[in-house]
Symmetry: C2
Subunit: 313 residues, 2 copies
């Protein structure tokens, strides 16, 4: 059996034909994400599927979106896709245009599913996947399945409070993990400090440009004290939030991915594991691992979800 | 169909005959918990069962223990039962002595199950139950079932970190919810403050005796500033931890019970709901409710688990 997995990103749409038993992905098509609105995005998905699998070898299709996907499959909004300003029930549209059953999900949760079945989460019942990049995303696998939760928002570890009345988060909340560990949060805080007279090598490099993970890396290498402090706060915030999730759910393995994690690698994982902020009962037995799947985790996870949707439950 | 639920407490063992469909409990037997070790506790359970149901009307038995129960049913330790200093696989022993299938669980999780099916959690898929008493216990129901987790420790909300490097918890950790919201934690902090010269009406009342919920209540009524501050910290810590659990799991309803909650009632729930420390995305839609089940929640929950164990999964 084959299924197709589609990963819809802010810049590109990636489409892969997958054997869900082995996770082997064969063939890929991709395209730039249309800027002209959801209808064109959905049309592009159908084109990519037709080009990838003209003979209808795949029996079902999974599609991951970068936004809020309700458990009933309605894509409420996609942060990075222009014009997606109202909920769309994409399943029926794509079913018609591709001629096959379609399931949809959140891209981060689907990445977590791929890590669980085929990456650093293999062999575990449960998995928390944390993606540290511009923001901090997360996906939760419980008993082998994606935990959606009431509204489809489960796994959002970036919006756990780590410091009461702490830093302002992009979402408007206070003291959330993402405000400490996400690249955008670190940049905001470094700029705020610089504006208050606490300059840093980090901000000297970045100036009015946009801060990249490599800037943080270079500033750390140079021993910039502000960057060192900000990274310690990031690591401690991650340790606290991860420890708390591991404790309340009693899970054993946590996988870390995302752009910032890629930049700092195993050292980043080791620092989190060694943090004194590790909360709860969870730390002693917790296995923190680097994510193993590459850029296609979202697409492969979508293909796995499509296969699950066909299996008798 | 009938099942029997047994709630093993530190002072008494309560045994009830339950119709798991309706939750109606008929008949009860109880006894003081033997201080002479686990063998006598298990013998007492069998006696209570025989007395309650001499005609074997019940087809299965559930037993809740106040301690760490592994998912495979082994009771690793029971904090409040003398001599329970090594893991015991109680199932086979009780199966033999009662002549019926026996399942075991943690008493707090079983209380949560009773609240979910028959109390303030009715109609929901998921439920977090938080019991605020001497300590802070918790039980987690996901998709209608108790979440055990890897080692059987899921739901332990009392040991989530709310303040990095904060107050010392009874478990040896730092900054855990229980150190702020449990009665023992509040008492420890009030004594520490008094020893450092910050006396309070609360400690004046308690002296060298043991602090009760009613002392806290009286001190609050009297406007004692130390007690007011400690209770605000307790409420904020509960709000932060509950908000975080609701966010990571995207659950909608939380039930509050336990001795401290009973003492302060709906006002306590309202204060938590109104706290500015409410973390995460979870607060807006969250329904915080007082627990509805009385002292027999543990026994009834145990009877429900026994019925579940017979159902084809």
């Amino acid at each position: 059996m084959k299924t197709i997995g589609v990963d819809v990103g802010g810049t590109k749409i990636l489409c892969r034909l997958v054997d869900p038993e082995t996770g082997k992905a064969r063939g890929r098509t991709k395209a730039r994400t249309p800027k002209s609105g959801p209808a064109d995005v959905l049309a592009s998905i159908a084109e990519l599927v037709a080009k990838l699998d003209p003979d209808h070898e795949a029996v079902a299709i999974g599609v991951g979106f970068p936004g809020y996907v309700r458990p009933d499959g309605v894509v409420v909004h996609c942060t990075n896709i222009s014009g997606w300003d109202q909920p769309i029930d994409v399943g029926p549209v794509l079913r018609k245009s591709t001629g096959r059953p379609v399931v949809v999900g959140n891209d981060v949760s689907l990445g977590a599913l791929a890590e669980h079945r085929l990456g650093a989460g293999q062999g575990e019942q449960d998995l928390l996947a944390v993606f540290v990049g511009t923001g901090v995303g997360g996906g939760l696998i419980l008993d082998g399945q994606i935990r959606d939760g009431d509204r489809g928002l489960a796994g959002e570890i970036g919006h756990l409070t780590v410091h009461t009345n702490g830093r302002l988060c992009g979402c408007g909340g206070r003291g959330h993990l993402e405000a400490y560990a996400g690249k955008a949060g670190i940049e905001r805080e470094a700029r705020r400090l610089a504006a208050n007279g606490e300059t840093s090598f980090l901000m000297d490099m970045v100036q009015n440009g946009s801060m990249k993970s490599r800037h943080v890396h270079q500033a750390l290498e140079a021993g910039d004290p502000v960057t060192l402090r900000l990274m310690t706060e990031a690591v401690d915030a991650l340790a606290q939030a991860i420890g708390n999730v591991a404790t309340i759910l009693d899970i054993r393995r946590v996988v870390l991915g995302g752009g910032m994690t890629d930049k700092f690698g195993q050292d980043f994982v080791d620092q989190i594991a060694a943090s004194s902020s590790f909360g709860g009962f969870g730390s002693a037995k917790l296995q923190l691992r680097l994510a193993e799947r590459m850029d296609d985790a979202g697409a492969v996870g979508a293909a796995l979800l499509a296969a699950d949707s066909l299996a008798p439950s």
